[in-house]
Amino acid sequence: MASVNLSLARALLRLFAVQGSYNYERLLGVGVGVAEEPLLRDLADGKYGPAVARGAHFFNAHPYLIGLAVGAAARAEHEGASPDQIERLRETLCGPLGSVGDRLVWAGWLPFLSALAMVTVALGGGWIAVAAFLVVYNIGHVALRWWALKAGWTHGTRVSIALHHPVLQKATTVLGSAMALAVGFALPITAQYLAGAFDSWTRLALAAVAVVAFLMLRLRGDRLNGLRLALGFGAVALIAGWIWP
């Protein structure tokens, strides 16, 4: 039992670097193989090498939930599942782990807390707001990674039970709504905070630029993004500012 926990802890530590060798050929595959390896060490000699090789095959998912696949695949190797079954398990998990993780974290937990941090900064919360953001975010982050790995290891090939856990489903829905509410609330307060650097006439110009830029992004979102637009606006302003007497 103690050795299993030690192997899980090693795998968890390696999961924090799962995207370290991100590439277009196997995406996260190599990182997944590295994370899975400690859980495969007690396999019989003839099984260890092929299992390590399988672990490093193509894989893509949300990095925080990838532990589900690592744990499940390692457990399946221990339970003597065939190579075909394990490859199919990995293939089956790619889509759902990516989709759930993206909605839960990238489109939920992260922007929700980031919006709260921006509001607090705008209202004078200072660096403490930023520190609180980091601490609260990472409590959720680490808990999710650990839960995913444990759940994968517990359920093995029946890992879809964990993926359909009601708490996970509910959290995805609730965080989506909370994110929308928080970011909606943060936008005007943040804009007001940034406008504080300007005098009243310049604030009007800032509002006008923001509206025009927003319309451009909405109408030509297929070609424009925030960076290109801001760079374009900046270049035009730089030239205009240069020739302005």
């Binding site: 924090f16 670097a17 995207q19 060798s21 991100y22 590439n23 277009y24 050929e25 190599v30 193989g33 590295v34 390896e37 260890y48 090789a53 490093a56 990095p63 925080y64 993206d102 990238w106 922007p111 980031s114 921006m118 900064v121 660096w127 930023v130 953001f133 980091l134 975010y137 709504s177 994110m179 929308a180 509410l181 928080a182 970011v183 909606g184 609330f185 936008l187 005007p188 307060i189 943040t190 905070y193 940034l194 650097a197 300007f198 110009a205 923001a210 025009v212 830029a213 993004n225 925030g226 960076l227 637009l229 801001a230 606006f233 900046g234 302003a237 730089l238 500012g241 240069w242 302005w244």
Partner: protein, 226 residues
């Protein structure tokens, strides 16, 4: 920005750059965090917070799903704060955002280049990986991490070089109005990117009502604070 500030900023930028994708994704790469710590290093937390918020809004334009390409705003925010700290008021703000935007663009390009390099290395190591040798696996992976650290340090160095050059090259040719114009243009675009990116994330489903409710509450709060 003094030479004594340069090394801590470079180290911080490297950590931030590595955190974005490779290790450990604890969100020190978020502009609001990267900017605040850069401000603290320079003894100017308010500027760090301000530019952190600007680039945090731009970050909302990105949803890092799959193998999508995106700009890198972490080291960019550090370069922006270093630029803004060297100039006064609105001039610093405008130049800072501009330097940050260019750094973010370059950072995004380097991420793509790194992934291509990693692809080639993984491709060449295919036989060793298929043999199930754990040492080969670790070597390939550790190499990727190391290359990302070098990449992050290079992007941060580039951003800090721009920050160092911005004031003597651009600060002297911009009038006060010109500086205001630059700040208005770039910050206005950042606010718009934040709003448009969030709307894309929210979609047309039930969350749109929550977004509208939040927006209404935020506007009321702004009116109340005035």
């Amino acid at each position: 920005m003094t030479l004594a500030d340069l090394l801590p900023l470079l180290v911080w930028g490297t950590l931030v750059g590595v955190d974005l994708v490779s290790l450990p994704q604890m969100m020190i790469a978020r502009p609001i965090v990267a900017g605040t710590v850069a401000g603290a290093i320079l003894g100017d937390i308010p500027t760090g917070l301000q530019l952190g918020v600007v680039f945090e809004l731009l970050q909302y334009d990105i949803l890092p799903v799959g193998a999508v390409r995106y700009p890198e705003y972490g080291p960019a925010t550090i370069a922006a704060v270093a630029t803004a700290h060297a100039s006064i008021g609105v001039l610093g703000l405008g130049l800072g955002v501009l330097v940050g935007l260019v750094t973010a663009l370059v950072g995004g390009v380097t991420i793509n280049v790194l992934r291509r390099v990693n692809s080639r290395i993984v491709h060449n190591a295919a036989a060793a990986l298929e043999s199930g040798d754990p040492r080969a696996l670790l070597r390939v992976h550790a190499g990727g991490l190391l290359r990302d650290a070098v990449r992050a340090a290079t992007v941060t160095s580039f951003g800090l070089l721009l920050a160092w050059l911005a004031r003597p090259l651009l600060g002297v040719v911009l009038t006060e109005q010109g500086a205001s114009l630059l700040a208005v243009a770039t910050i206005g675009a950042a606010i718009a990117a934040g709003a448009a990116g969030t709307l894309r994330l929210v979609g047309r489903g039930p969350n749109l009502i929550w977004f509208a409710a939040g927006l209404g509450g935020g506007l009321l709060m702004v009116a109340w604070l005035r």
